[in-house]
């Protein structure tokens, strides 16, 4: 039992996917316009993540290594479709609020990242709890970010008019208006900038200041890499083959020169 709780603790605090590993930035920035939205998105992702970790772990011995990524993608996409249909049927409000970001859970790198880094190597139970922990960590981070933006940008919290009631109760702050930009697109980027700057300042563990490495094949540091690791690897490989080709040429030239001599 302790092992399982440790996975949950690891996901929520030690390796929080959003605040520490900096994975899945697209949905994080797009849906955190309010605390509720963040909470819904987080819980939807948690369901998909726990189920995908469970299924991928159960299939880990039968999926051939070469086609594992497409196989994972099919599993995740099927689960997302199931979740989307369930939301349409039973929680249409959530489906409307999150819109296109529900099908886009498929390409959320937390899910493929956990499949690759954890579920493909560990037992079913541990993988399931790893998914639950990571999902709850994501939910927690999204809810905090969403509430922060909602409070600054709309003066409400989880839809309750906090600023209004403060104005009524105290009689002060009459001229205080919410900073609308925080619930708009630029506010999302600004919030993230403030968060990462604070992490840098306080030297908190975070992938953005290089103090945390995770065990995804590419290094998994999305905010710094976004594929640039992949690009630089390829460039290095190309350079290597070029230099070896050039070396071959110079050897050839030398041989030619030798002939002339």
């Amino acid at each position: 039992m302790k092992k399982y709780l440790e996975r949950v603790y690891n996901g929520v605090f030690k390796e929080n996917p959003t605040l520490v590993l900096m994975l899945g930035m697209c949905p994080t920035l797009a849906v955190t316009t309010s605390g509720n939205n963040g909470l819904y998105m987080g819980l939807t992702t948690t369901v998909v993540l726990a189920a995908s970790n469970f299924i991928i772990s159960a299939l880990r011995k039968s999926i051939p290594d070469k086609v594992r990524i497409p196989a994972y993608i099919v599993v995740v996409a099927s689960l997302v479709t199931v979740v989307q249909l369930l939301l349409e049927a039973y929680l249409p409000v959530v489906n409307e609020l999150l819109g296109i970001y529900i099908p886009l859970i498929v390409v959320n790198c937390i899910i493929l990242g956990r499949a690759e880094a954890y579920a493909a190597k560990n037992s079913i139970g541990l993988s399931f709890f790893d998914g639950v922990g990571m999902g709850l960590g994501f939910t927690l981070a999204l809810t905090i970010l969403g509430s922060f933006r909602e409070l600054l940008g709309a003066g409400t919290i989880f839809g309750l008019g906090l600023l209004e009631s403060v104005k009524k109760l105290t009689g002060f702050f009459d001229t205080v208006e919410p900073i609308t930009i925080f619930i708009l697109a630029p506010g999302a980027l600004l919030t993230m900038a403030i968060l990462t700057a604070i992490q840098n300042k306080l030297k908190l563990p975070s992938a953005t200041n290089g103090s945390v490495k995770n065990n995804i094949g590419c290094g998994g540091d999305c905010l710094q890499c976004h594929g640039s690791v992949c690009t630089s690897n390829r460039e290095q490989l190309a350079q290597k083959s070029e230099t070896s080709a050039n070396a071959g040429k110079t050897v050839g030239n030398k041989a030619d020169a030798g002939k002339v001599d």
Binding site: I73, V74, P103, G187, N200, G227
Partner: protein, 192 residues
Amino acid sequence: MNELLMIIIGSALVNNVVLSQFLGLCPFLGVSKKTNTAAGMGAAVIFVITVSSALCSIIYDQILVPLDMQYLNTIVFILVIACLVQFVELVLKKYSRALYNALGVYLPLITTNCAVLGVAIINVNKEYSLLPSVINGFGTAAGFAIAIVIMAGIREKIEHNDVPNAFKGSPIVLVTASLMAIAFFGFAGLKL
């Protein structure tokens, strides 16, 4: 014709895919260190999104709708995109060495670019037929290319600036992106 022009301006500038919808944020922040790599990435994205939105639109209209299986669109689209990217890479490698050298390195990164899947799904949600889908795909990708090239230009300048220690690295890039997003709000005033 007028309608198509509106789609292209709307998707490239008014609803910029990166700065207002946050799709494709990963390559936008990661591959924007130098202007020429950013331009290469932009070109590769334009190419792949235009082709994939055509393909996804055809498959949706000709296969999924007649069979009444629209609910499978997410699975089908992601597989089509993954195969398409591999296929394009192989074709370019074989037939157009110059194009492959220019775009090849960026192609594998595009499979995980959520803008590609996002455009395919937006096309379905808006019930665009083939031509508007392709135009919308091209416009969205052009918007991505514009944003990433501007970003790379600014980042090259930031290199020479005295940024406060805490803001070095990701934070200053995010602040820059935020200011760009504010600038792009200006396009919302366009009367279309």
